[in-house]
């Protein structure tokens, strides 16, 4: 859904794991799922301290 976020003008956008579970995945083991969640949240924090001038999608490095 990141194109929608760009269209409406959200400035810092981090792609998540999916519409039905943005910060998780039932297919992963509990530990791997939490690691995925942590990675997305840390990427969001990284985005928060990055200056942007326009809607920006922060893809995984």
């Amino acid at each position: 859904m990141t194109p929608v976020a760009v269209m409406v003008g959200a400035n810092r956008i981090v792609p998540a794991a999916g519409i039905i579970h943005p910060l998780g995945s039932a297919d992963l083991s509990p530990d791997d799922e939490k690691a995925l969640r942590r990675r997305i949240v840390e990427q969001a924090l990284q985005a928060l301290r990055t200056e942007v001038a326009r809607p920006t999608v922060f893809t995984r490095e």
Binding site: G9, I20, H21, P22, S25, A26, V41, L48, A53
Partner: protein
């Protein structure tokens, strides 16, 4: 029977003077003066300008409520069947005054009104939903053409005739939806539009895209280690029982839920009324929507200064832009008052 028409003009178009006369208060003159003569010309035999109300731009702008309260009786005394204000073109103070007077006359006297402005006149956004504002040029160079369109719409309004769509009649959309019978089914219209697009022919969408104004991205002034971070979601997290009654779609409400003392969200204590996606997985584990567990760990390790103790939540499906903007502004105001520095908003 010829209609009685009252015109409203500023000091300039009413021929009282220029900027040096912008402070003069409301006055009324019998018949058509200044730009009102163009209204009379456009009316022809259909109506007579019986009076022209004139007010200085500064007087109308600086004490708007008083100016309108003084002008409405002047308009009423002339017993109009129609009030034509302006056109104000791109003149901001004039446009706002035209809109304010028209809205008051329509509401208090129940007399049809019409005004005209350029698209970028601030009066358009302020009043287009309440009154018919005809689109004009930026300057008075094509005054008579613009006035003719104002008068044409004004006569329809005064005669209680059916008013067509904004594009057909030349006024700014009022935000109203009206059912019409189309000549062809949607599939045929869509294919015709696609063929026009492929052939580089002009075509017009039936669903105008809303314009989203650019919002400057705020800079995080503090370091993350010293910042308070809040979690917000439009994915529908609610405590069991949905105490705020957040709607399953087209939400008008949001909730504020404390996570004080919690290192995580216990699935048994939460629910999710969102009807825009399959909520099975986030009900199994609410962290899949709102990452309180990870955020607490980051708080404990010092990666962030503090996790805000309130999570804000609403349902983002078929939610109107107006309600979204209102709820967003309200939530932002509360977060700011609570000293929150940044927000992670999780969306489905």
């Amino acid at each position: 029977m010829a209609l009685r028409v009252v015109c409203y003009l500023n000091q300039f178009f009413g021929q009282l003077g220029g900027e040096e006369k912008a402070g003069v208060g409301p006055q009324v003159v019998d018949g058509a003066v200044g730009a009102a003569r163009a209204v009379q010309q456009a009316l022809g035999d259909a109506g007579t300008v019986v009076a022209t109300v004139i007010c200085g731009d500064n007087y109308a702008a600086e004490q708007a409520e008083r100016a309108v309260a003084e002008m409405v009786p002047l308009v009423a005394a002339a017993r109009p069947d129609l009030v034509v204000a302006g056109p104000a073109f791109l003149a901001g103070r004039y446009g706002v005054a035209c809109g304010a007077l028209c809205a008051a006359v329509q509401a208090q006297l129940e007399v049809p009104v019409v005004t005209g402005m350029h698209a970028e006149n601030p009066g358009v956004e302020l009043y287009r939903r309440q009154v018919h504002v005809v689109q004009t040029g930026a300057e008075a160079t094509r005054m008579l053409d613009d006035v003719k369109r104002l008068v044409a719409l004004g006569l329809k309004l005064a005669r209680r005739e059916a008013i067509g769509a904004p594009v057909a009649e030349g006024y700014f959309a009022r935000g109203l939806t009206r059912n019409v019978v189309a000549g062809a089914v949607a599939a045929d219209r869509a294919v015709a539009m696609l063929l026009d697009k492929l052939a580089a022919r002009p075509f017009a969408s039936e669903v105008p895209r809303p314009a989203f104004p650019h919002v400057p991205a705020p800079r995080l002034i503090k370091t993350l280690e010293g910042a308070t971070i809040a979690l917000v979601t439009d994915g529908g997290l609610v405590p069991r029982g949905n105490p705020d009654g957040i709607e399953a779609l087209n939400a008008t409400r949001y909730g504020a839920y404390s996570i004080e003392g919690k290192t995580g969200l216990d699935a048994a204590q939460y629910d999710n009324p969102h009807r825009g996606y399959d909520t099975t997985w986030v009900k199994q584990d609410p962290h899949r929507l709102v990452p309180v567990d990870v955020a607490r760990e980051l708080e404990r390790s010092g990666a962030i200064g503090k996790l805000h103790e309130t999570v804000y939540s609403t349902v983002g499906v078929a939610t109107t832009l107006a309600h979204s903007a209102r709820m967003g502004a309200e939530i932002a105001e509360k977060l700011r008052a609570a000293g929150v520095d940044a927000v992670i908003l999780t969306s489905t």
